[in-house]
């Protein structure tokens, strides 16, 4: 982090709703030009954190510097250097793509060429269509176009791909990576591990309002200290001490699904099957895989990113 420039510096942000603490003293920095991911399950405080950074919610405590400006005191200046795409926003449905871009462009002192922006976001065919008639992916690309209309340095994207089909997600990933190539800083929230892995230079994992890990995707997985995971269920309630199975480094269990982390897949599997036979238990849904960010999360919190 030596020569990296901190473009966002979050200092002890706290947000409470009554007795519930949605964000509990987050501290992190985002470097200029990186794609920074906030990963966590629903209700972890990702969106609340992001909304405090863009000035939509007032923090109860702490502050943050965004693009060199304090979000509690210089919000107007912050808004000039950031672009925002919010979760589940609707737009004026009766306006056309081109009209709404001109409208949002007018909210800022300056805006980039609207036709170029439309082309960049692959919306040229749809520029005269009303927003009402756009597909989910097109609407999301339009939402990102609106965030870019004033050429901001930092772009905040709140769950940009939630609810999109795989094709539309990949198109969006390309767009986000292109933004990074152009030197923009991108902060995004997601609860898809594959997405975080593909897009993000660094990931902050949040759970229950707290930041529980922050590193590159590769490092996070490496820190798990195991490269394989064995996932299975028993067909009935079983009284087995899974930690005693050979070569198991960690155990993650959730309801009736058990996950064993190991560096020696063969040893663990043999031992597991032997133990099961010995206790006359039947293994169901047995699968092995390399450890992923999801496992990092399960390991740290004992819960999955997406419940159910």
């Amino acid at each position: 982090m030596e020569s990296l420039q901190e473009i966002i510096k979050v200092q002890g942000l706290v947000k409470r709703y009554g007795d519930f603490t949605a964000v509990d003293g987050s501290e992190f920095s985002v470097h200029k030009g990186e794609v920074f991911g906030l990963l966590g399950p629903n209700g972890a405080g990702k969106t609340t954190t992001l909304e405090m950074l863009v000035g939509l919610r007032k923090p109860d405590d702490g502050t943050a510097m965004v693009g060199g400006f304090d979000i509690t005191r210089e919000l107007d200046k912050v808004k000039e250097v950031i672009g925002v795409q919010l979760q589940s926003t609707t737009l004026f449905e009766l306006l056309t793509v081109e009209e709404i871009l001109h409208l949002y462009g007018s909210f800022y002192r300056d805006h980039i060429s609207i036709p170029d922006l439309i082309e960049d976001m692959l919306l040229t065919e749809k520029k005269d269509s009303r927003i009402k008639g756009l597909s989910g992916g097109q609407k999301q690309r339009l939402a990102i176009a609106l965030a870019l209309v004033h050429d901001p340095q930092i772009i905040f994207l709140d769950e940009p791909t939630t609810g999109l089909d795989p094709q539309a997600r990949r198109t969006l990933w390309d767009i986000i990576l292109r933004l990074k190539d152009r030197g923009k800083t991108v902060v995004l929230t997601t609860h898809y591990m594959d997405e975080a892995h593909v897009l993000c230079d660094r990931i902050a994992i949040m759970d229950q309002g707290k930041l529980i890990a922050l590193d590159t995707p590769g490092e996070l997985v490496k820190n798990l200290q195991s490269d394989s995971a064995v996932e299975f269920r028993f067909d009935e309630e079983a009284d087995v001490v899974l930690e005693e199975i050979e070569a198991v480094k960690q155990v993650g269990s959730q309801k009736d699904v058990h996950i064993l982390y190991t560096d020696d897949l063969q040893k663990t599997l043999t031992s597991l099957i032997a133990t099961a036979s010995e206790k006359e238990l039947k293994l169901v849904d047995l699968q092995t895989r390399t450890a992923t960010l999801e496992d990092v999360f399960i390991h740290m919190t004992g819960r999955r990113l997406r419940e159910g």
Partner: protein, 365 residues
């Protein structure tokens, strides 16, 4: 400034593309005006049915009945059953009952300095306005007879000349009321509904994430609505002119000034409702709760004078009462803006007060 222009343009586009809303907000007042205007438009407002119970049946009593018949506003119903007539009066089928008791002819015929004959006239206190007019008309008839009897030569007479311009029909009364109603509902209900639904859908929230100022947003909203309402008011006035021959007797500038004041005042109230309403679903009933009483108490369809006494203080502070009154005075009588200073001041107070309240209740989300 660019944001203001773009937002106004966007709002006008939204209005024009929302054909259904556009059609019905215009169709309703026009439909109402044509319906009410065709049914009631040509009446002179009050019709009286007076029952005469002639128990005397003398020459003189016939003269009295003839005298009453001369007045075109009165339709006479002759009867001999006083009780039945009084019951009808109570039921509201009749407005007055005049009984000519036995001995009337003799008493009047005797003339001279005897005690004046007392003619019983029954009326229903619950319908005071109409009764008063009726009593006045009967008095006139009786007065004429009395004067004839004593060979009275008046020293001064009034020379009443009906001025055609002020021969007001119900439709003349109705049209300014309809315009006021349209201004109220389009602005108050319109703003409340739209802003609360935009808030619910996160449209306002997204704009809050930009450098756009709330004041610019509100100013553009007001401008666009004002343009649309001005246009709608003109269309309604145009239809009124084409169908009923209604014209604006006063200055158009005064009409425009009051349309402006009314639009702004009701829009401000709409912003308050939008601020209070937690969901778009609750904005409708709240706006309805305010607009319905105003519709019936505010002098839109019936003159405020007809309202019961105890409601008068409430009626007098309703903004719509002053808007409809001011429009009526301008259109019907040709009053100048200066003559309507009171109405302008009261609407102005509503406007300022409501905008202050609205600025405290306005929320982006």
């Amino acid at each position: 400034m660019r944001a203001y222009y773009q937002l106004t343009l966007a709002q006008l586009r939204i209005f024009l593309r929302n054909r259904q809303v556009l059609f019905w907000t215009l169709a309703f007042p026009i439909f109402l005006m044509i319906m009410l205007g065709s049914f009631l438009g040509n009446g002179n407002g009050i019709s009286l049915t007076v029952a005469v119970v002639d128990q005397d049946k003398s020459e003189q009593s016939k003269v009295l009945v003839e005298e009453l018949k001369k007045n075109k506003a009165i339709s006479i119903e002759k009867s001999s059953d006083e009780k039945d007539m009084l019951q009808q009066l109570k039921d509201g089928d009749l407005q007055l009952v005049v009984t000519i008791p036995e001995g009337y002819g003799k008493s009047v015929g005797a003339g001279g300095n005897a005690e004046p004959f007392k003619l019983p006239v029954y009326y229903n206190e619950t319908n005071l306005t109409v009764s008063q007019v009726g009593l006045q008309l009967v008095n006139n008839a009786v007065d004429t007879i009395s004067k004839k009897q004593v060979d009275y030569k008046p020293a001064v007479v009034t020379d009443s000349k009906g001025v055609e311009a002020l021969n007001l029909r119900y439709i003349d009364f109705l049209v300014p009321g309809i315009v006021a109603m349209m201004i109220m509902s389009n602005n108050m209900n319109g703003v409340a509904g739209q802003i609360s639904s935009w808030r619910e859908r996160g449209i306002l929230r997204r704009m809050q994430g930009t450098t756009l100022k709330a004041s610019t947003f509100i100013a553009a909203q007001i401008t666009a609505r004002f343009m649309l309402n001005g246009l709608q008011a003109m269309i309604v006035l145009g239809v009124a002119w084409a169908v009923f021959g209604i014209e604006v007797r006063g200055s158009w500038l005064t009409v425009i000034a009051f349309v402006t004041l009314g639009t702004l005042a009701f829009m401000a109230i709409g912003f308050i409702i939008a601020g209070i309403a937690k969901t778009p679903e609750s904005a409708g009933p709240i706006a309805g709760f305010l607009s319905f009483p105003m519709l019936f108490l505010g002098g839109v369809f019936f003159p405020i004078k007809d309202m019961p006494e105890f409601l008068q203080p409430i009626v007098q502070i309703l903004p719509i009462a002053h808007l409809s009154h001011a429009l009526r005075e301008t259109m019907n009588v040709g009053a100048s803006f200066m003559n309507l200073g009171m109405e302008a001041v009261i609407l102005g107070c509503w406007l300022v007060g409501a905008f202050i309240a609205a600025s405290f209740t306005f929320k982006w989300e």
